[in-house]
Each structure stands twice: as C-alpha cells, then as structure tokens.
C-alpha cells in the first residue's frame, strides 16, 4: 500500500532491513543466519540485543522468532555451508558474512558448493541462497576489515553478485536477490550505510532486476562508471566537472555478475571516453574487466584509452591519512576525466 505523498527518504540500513522484513513476511521459507543477527543468542530479556553489527537485521527476531532468525557461532564455513544445504532442500536462507574479508574461512562453501552444485548436478538442484557482506575502507579498520573483494566472487561462474549504491537500490536488489533461484551475494559498502541521500524509497515491495546497470546522470563528454560506493564518488566528480563545463555521464553498475555489458558499451559509444572507478584491489578486478570490455567492444569509438581509478596494489592501511589516500575520491576521478578528455 502506497501511503507516501512525496519523497520517502530512509537510510540504506532501513531500506535493507525493510526488504528483508517484507520477504520474510511474504515467504515462510526465508530465514536469516549470522553472528549476532538477533544478538544475545536469544537470552531471555535480551532478545534482539544487536540486530547485526550494522543493525541490518534488527527487529526480525521479535517478529519471526528463534527458528527463522538464528544467531550463529563464529563458524562461517559451518553456517554458510548450512545455508547452502538449507537452500538445496527448500529454504531461502539469507546469511550474513559480516565483512567480506572473512570470506577466507568459508570460501570453499561459497565457491565450491554454492557456485557449482547447480552445474555439477546437471541443473537438478537449485541453491536460492543470499549472502550479504560488508565491504570497503574508510572506517579506520585496517587491512583485514576494509576489503572490497567482490572481484573474487565475480570470477566464479555460478555466483551472482550485486552492489547497491543507495537505499533505493539496496531494497530493490535485496528483494530480487532473495527471490532469485541462484546464489547471490549482496555487497554493502560500509560508508553507504549511514548516508541518507536524496531519493524516494517506495514503501511497497519492488525488485531491481539483477543484471541491469542504471544511468544515474546523463552526460555526453565522458562516462564515469561506479560500483557501489564509488558511484557516489562519481556523482560528486560529475558535479565538479559540470561546474567546469563538462558533461559527465554516470553509470551505476549495480550488478557485477551478470554485468550489463550493453549499458556500458552504449554509454561509452556515446561519450567516447571512460573512467572506471572502483575500490577493489586493482589486479584481476572489476575495473580491469570493464576496461577490457570497453577496449574490446567499443574500440572504434574510443577517443582515448579507458582509464581506471582504483587504490594502488596495496593492502588497506590503518593510519587515517594513509587510508584517505587509498580510497578513490572525487578529485582522483576529476583528474582522470581531464586526462581522457584532453
């Protein structure tokens, strides 16, 4: 029921939480697992003490109870593997991997089981599993708690990967992910959590189709491609460029696998220049993938080589001034845009 008049602005956390709540109401096979997703392990008088470290799952335990909302021990391989098995046998588990840098203790379950079972078993088993993970630097959390890493999962056939960039896309992509019959990983950048950007978030349920990028700003001089948080950076850069008289188009990738190749190629064919802005490590990454795609599919249209703006080939530093240099920022993007436009 649409009750809003005008614009409904909520935070990324609220939007994500709303999507999850709606899906749990709609479909009794949806369940949630993860460390402190409720909190206090259901201890009497302390139910829902946490609701997840980022409060993404707050309120679920009181409404849906201990069977469908489970705090887990710190056993990611165990409970993500359990998510795979529950998905294979009839549930739609939504499992939190707190920060993506913890992938290393459970990668086997994600990339050898979730990703491959449908194929290995000849298409006869489906794994409608959703995993969500926090990503990104900028919170003074050092090398192990600040990674982006979605490139690793995009590498694997059998996985789908999405990176929302704001509350609207967080809600729509999470709903689409939960309803999807393939395993999907939703990457939530920690810097987006707190932001409450302009933009309407409908109260009713809606899906954003997995595999579709969106143009968040039209332009004609250069295409800036962002992924999750860097879409935000691209928007800032586009505003600066506009002030200088340049018209930048901003493409928000949203889906990493499948990737909307058509949207990328058409935009670049129009603007003839591209700057790809990504926070993941630079080698064997989304940025390289997009650059290669553009080089191969839009070669004859390009006025300048594709340009990547990424962190250096370096772990994430703790010290704040170093960390600030690490994450791509709008000035980096503006400078790169100047380069390709000259």
């Amino acid at each position: 029921m649409v009750t809003d008049v005008g614009v409904r602005e909520i935070s990324y956390i609220q939007a994500f939480n709303e999507a999850l709540t709606d899906e749990m109401r709609r479909d009794p096979t949806v369940m949630v697992m993860g460390e402190d997703v409720a909190g206090a392990g259901g201890r009497e008088g302390f139910e829902d003490a946490w609701g997840g470290v980022m409060r993404l799952t707050k309120g679920l335990y009181p409404e849906f109870g201990p069977s469908r909302v489970r705090d887990t021990p710190i056993s990611e391989a165990g409970f993500i593997g359990a998510g795979v098995g529950a998905a294979a046998t009839g549930l739609r588990p939504v499992v939190e991997l707190m920060y993506v840098g913890f992938y290393g203790v459970c990668a086997d379950q994600i990339t050898n089981n979730a990703a491959k079972m449908h194929y290995m078993f000849g298409g006869k088993v489906k794994i409608p599993l959703t995993i969500f993970a926090g990503t990104g630097a900028g919170t003074n959390s050092a090398a192990q708690h600040s990674e982006t890493l979605y490139s690793l999962f995009v590498h694997f056939p059998g996985l789908k990967c999405v990176a929302p960039s704001d509350p609207y896309t967080a809600k729509g992509l999470l709903i689409a992910s939960i309803r999807d019959d393939d395993p999907v990983i939703v990457f939530n950048n920690r810097q987006l959590m707190g932001l409450r950007p302009e933009g309407h978030v409908p109260e009713e349920s809606y899906e954003i189709p997995i595999g579709e990028a969106r143009i968040v700003r039209e332009g004609s001089d250069v295409t800036l491609i962002g992924v999750g948080y860097t879409t935000h950076v691209c928007r800032q850069a586009a505003a600066d460029l506009e002030a200088e008289g340049y018209s930048a188009e901003v493409l928000d990738l949203l889906s990493l696998s499948p990737m909307d190749e058509d949207a990328i190629v058409s935009s670049v064919q129009k603007t003839r220049k591209v700057v790809i802005v990504d926070e993941d490590y630079p080698r064997c990454s989304m940025a390289g993938d997009i650059s290669a795609l553009v080089a191969e599919q839009a070669f004859d249209y390009l006025d300048a080589p594709p340009r990547r703006v990424t962190p250096p080939h370096t772990s994430v530093p703790y010290s704040r001034p170093l960390e600030a240099l690490y994450v791509p920022n709008k000035d980096d993007v503006v400078a790169a845009a100047h380069e390709v436009m000259e």
Binding site: V84, A86, L91, Q109, Y119, F121, G158
Partner: protein, 325 residues
C-alpha cells in the same frame, strides 16, 4: 550383537544392496581401466556402512557423500544405469555427464551429492538438517565422510552447530584407516574420531563397519534420536577399502598384505551371506542367484551407459545458472 528387529525382507534388501555395490564397483573399475574415466575412488570393502545406515531412511531424508560415494548412492536407491552413464560422462547420467564420479547426485532420491572437496559436504548436510527442523518435519540428514576428513575444521564447526541447535543429523565417519596413503593413526590425534563427539554434546559411537548388522543397530538408534528431536550423533564405522585410493594405485606401497587379509577375512558381504544362510533366511543357491541377477543388472547398466550419447556441445554452458541475463 542382536538383530532381532530385522525382518527377512530387510536383511535381503541389505544383502542385495551390498552385492550391487560390490558388483557395480568392480565393473566401474573395469571401465576405468579401459580408459573411459579417470580418478575414480572405489568403495569395495565399505559396502556395509551406507547400507546399514540408509536402510533406516525414508523419502525426504537426505544423504551427503564424498569423493568416494558410489556406495552411498546405491544404498540410497539411485539407479545404477544412470550412475554408470554418469561415470562415462554421458548425457543420460544422473548429472547429465557434467559431474562425474565425484559429484553424483539425485535430489529426487535424496542423495544430495558426492563432493570432491574433503569435508566440504559436512556443513551442507547440517543445513539440510536445519531445514528439516525449521520446517517442523521429522526428516533427518546423514553425512558420510572419511577418517581424513575428520581433520577438516568444518567438521568441528558443523558438530558444534548441530550440538547447539540439536539438529537431526547423523555424522558418519567411514574410518577406512587411510587418507590416500596416510594412516589414520598418524593423522588423527587421540585414539578415535568418535571420542571427539564428547566436546559437542552428542554421543560418539565407534562401530564395526565390517558388520552391517552392527552398523544397522547403531544407525537405527541415531536415526531415532534425530527424528525424535534429540539431536545429532557421531558414528565412526571402522572399515577398510580394498582397492587403492583412486583405484589405480597400489595400496601395498603403504600398508601390509597382512592387514589387508585381516580385513578381507571379515568381508562384510561374506559375513552377511553367512548370517543369512545360518539363520535359514536364504539358501546359498538363492543368494548366488541373487548375485547373478545383480551382475546382469550391472551388465545392463554398463550397456546402457556405453550406448548412451555424450552431451550435446551446447550443454557446456547450460546449468551454470537457473537464469542469467
């Protein structure tokens, strides 16, 4: 060991299942030796374990296997025609030829897959038990794994999860004494795998895996516990693989003939045959006739597999996703 609860039909089903495993594995070995497939892990010698467990299962229960899982599949009732076709990579196989010997699965039959990564299926099976619990069923989940797999951390994580949530799962360690060439005594600290259950709030029971009747009894109790909501059990079935690790290798590189003979003297199929005859459940002639029938079924499966077509080239890229735009 008492087998009072066992009726003749069940006993004969078990014997036929164990014979089918034995004959299937022998034939599969021949197919492999003929170069039709590679890297196959034979379960000859271990017939009793899945047979004594799966006899307690019903529709809707799931089992989960390992790299060595033909015997699990057969005990859970998979069609050996489709299995043999899968081994040969044929379009008619259980997995359309895409999975092969290490990944045979049949969700309709409740076999959720052999798995090539040691230990990897243990949490997946835990998840099937979780689903059974969340949906309020009395279904159970069974996971088979080797003595080698007992040293993968994920077993510990899964036993802990099953322990705290009282999940309806049976962890069945087939301790065949070796992980590749590495002896169990070398690789496993402590006396046994079963002992480890104590730390996870569940019974841990070692059983003679060369006796299907012993396995039957212990597994029956575990399945009852699980269905009743009393939680998980760890069973360590002491067994032996007669062939090399992946079939073509020579096990006498790392173990003695004496040891092999000792286990073969307790061969599970021969033991059950003796029991059936001693208890006048069947005559030797009847059991030999059963063997002939099984051999013919295996031959038929082999013909079916060999005559089946390979997958169409277009199959290379299908089934990666349910949908992908």
């Amino acid at each position: 060991m008492s087998a009072t609860k066992l009726d003749d039909k069940t006993l004969l089903w078990m014997y036929r299942t164990m014979l089918t495993i034995r004959r299937f594995e022998e034939q599969a070995r021949r197919e492999a030796d003929a170069g039709k497939l590679r890297g196959m892990h034979s379960a000859v010698g271990q017939e009793a374990v899945p047979t004594g467990v799966c006899v307690h299962l019903r529709d809707g229960d799931y089992i989960f296997g390992t790299h060595r899982s033909h015997h699990h599949c057969i005990a859970k009732g998979l069609d050996i025609k489709l299995m043999m076709a899968e081994l040969l990579g044929k379009a008619t196989g259980t997995n359309k030829g895409k999975g092969g010997t290490m990944h045979i699965a049949d969700i309709e039959k409740g076999m959720l897959g052999a798995n090539g990564i040691v230990g990897s299926n243990i949490p997946v099976a835990t998840g099937a038990a979780l689903r059974a619990q969340v949906q309020g069923t009395d279904l159970v989940s069974v996971v088979f794994f080797g003595d080698g797999a007992a040293n993968q951390g994920v077993l510990h994580e899964s036993m802990n999860l099953a322990g705290i949530w009282k999940l309806p799962i049976i962890f069945v360690c087939e301790n065949n004494r070796y992980a590749q060439s590495t002896p169990f005594e070398y690789a496993v600290a402590g006396e046994s795998v079963a002992d480890r259950a104590a730390g996870y709030d569940m019974p841990g029971i070692a059983v003679n895996g060369m006796s299907v009747l012993d396995v039957y009894e212990v597994a029956g109790e575990a399945v009852r516990r699980a269905r009743a909501g009393d939680g998980p059990t760890l069973i360590e079935a002491m067994t032996y693989r007669y062939m090399g690790h992946f079939g073509a290798d020579n096990p006498l590189m790392y173990r003695t003939e004496d040891e092999e003979d000792e286990f073969k003297a307790r061969d599970c199929n021969r033991q059950l045959k003796g029991y059936l005859m001693e208890n006048a459940i069947a005559t030797e002639a009847e059991l030999d006739a059963m063997d002939e029938e099984v051999l013919e079924e295996v031959a038929e499966a082999t013909r079916f597999a060999n005559d089946s077509p390979f997958p169409d080239p277009s199959e290379l890229t299908t089934d990666v996703y349910v949908s992908y735009r």
